[in-house]
Amino acid sequence: MNVTLKIWRQQNAQTKGKFKTYPLRDVSPEMSFLEMLDYLNMQLIEKGEEPVAFEHDCREGICGTCGLYINGRPHGPMRNTTTCELHMREFKHGEVIYIEPWRARAFPVLKDLIVDRSSFERIMHAAGFISTNTGSAPEANSTPVSKIIADKAFDAAVCIGCGACVAACKNSSAMLYAAAKVAQYAMIPQGKVEAKERVDKMVRQMDAEGFGFCSNTYGCEFDCPKGISADFIALMNREFFSSRVCGHKQK
């Protein structure tokens, strides 16, 4: 199949970017989307042009690096699918495919399709952890967790930190990401100990990074490749209120 790619090219964070058009012939429908870009880059290198910069690592939907905004949707047209899991068979022969980087103030473009997502890391550094005990692992059964709660916490913990929620949100809000990270600890006994301080610090950091504010449009949930539910956003709001009202003053 043949496709026409319209790809955002930008030298670095300081320069302005623009779209460039690349007609690509003889693409196999079996190729993954990233293999298709590899195929394009090989041709560009042979012609002596600069290859398109894009991020990828695991290519099996678990690392979260491969976010591309494809034809108006993060990770492309399939739900619950990362860009690396997307295949060219989902596109039509002759289709024009727009490929853009995530657009958000808190995700500045580094080069072409690569954005800097360290704002996400800083939210985690703020308090996205459980202060560890030293010594050997405790007896597992000494901290009982119900199956329902364990499953729910795991549903939050499957977030791969890809940033599609921010890219999808009309407000560029990071609420779904932050909520998943807060919720994975907030529901289980190990995480409850520091829950009040955690949510406060993480939300503050999120706001400081320049993400937008949530207006409950649920676009994040629609485009999250891991199917994280916006119910966790309500959970985080609840945690946040309870932290504000009942939590101790922080230094």
Binding site: A104, R105, F213, G219
Partner: protein, 207 residues
């Protein structure tokens, strides 16, 4: 934002029920009695709270929207295809329409009551709202504007009702689906309820 929104939504219920009394067959006697209550000190407190709620809600709404515009300095070239409800996409815009309506509405009624605007000749005194409303509603342009504004109010409420619960963290696998249905019914009740009043006075009423 959500708390102010909830207060406004409660106010709309009481305002609508009062206004519907205008349609009663008693020539507006029940309505006039309800209007008299507005002078009561307890109602005065609610009135000040109401102004505060509007102010807070509108101010926060505008700030929220400005921050959100700033959060994406470079827009996407390809129009987003992420599916979200149309009502949620246009909350700010429907809010602006409600605001414009609100200003005109206050000039028409509240200003007259406060004596800041001249008393229309149809009205006997500054609390005589029914004849004022009837005169306004018999103008098709005014009625049309009123009905369309109520439509947009309904859109705002359709999203706003459930959004307020989500914002307050009041979410539950059992009750949230019910909240969404009640929100839809509430939005229809409010917008249709307010809209039938001008429609009645325009088409089915002769004084």
């Amino acid at each position: 934002m959500a708390l102010a929104g909830i207060f406004l939504m409660l106010f709309l219920i009481s305002h609508l029920l009062t206004n519907l009394l205008m349609l009663a067959a008693d020539g507006g006697k029940a309505f006039d009695r309800a209007v008299e209550l507005l002078g009561h000190p307890a109602v005065k407190i609610v009135e000040y709270t109401l102004f505060a709620a509007f102010l807070i809600h509108i101010l926060l709404g505008v700030i929220l929207q400005l921050i959100n515009y700033r959060a994406r300095p470079v827009k996407y070239k390809k129009a987003p295809r992420t599916e979200i409800s149309t009502f949620s996409r246009y909350m700010f815009h429907t809010g602006i329409i409600i605001f414009v309506f609100l200003v005109i509405h206050l000039i028409n009624f509240f200003f007259v009551r406060m004596g800041w605007a001249p008393l229309p000749e149809t009205a006997a005194h500054s609390h005589d709202f029914r004849p004022m409303a009837v005169a306004l509603f018999q103008n098709p342009w005014y009625s049309g504007f009123y009905v369309i504004s109520m439509l947009f109010l309904g859109f705002h409420l359709k999203h706003g009702f459930q959004s307020a619960f989500q914002s307050l963290g009041l979410n539950h696998t059992k009750y949230t689906p019910a909240i969404k249905i009640i929100g839809t019914l509430y939005a229809i009740f409010i917008s249709v309820g307010f809209a039938i009043i001008p429609v009645y006075f325009l088409f089915f009423f002769s004084s």
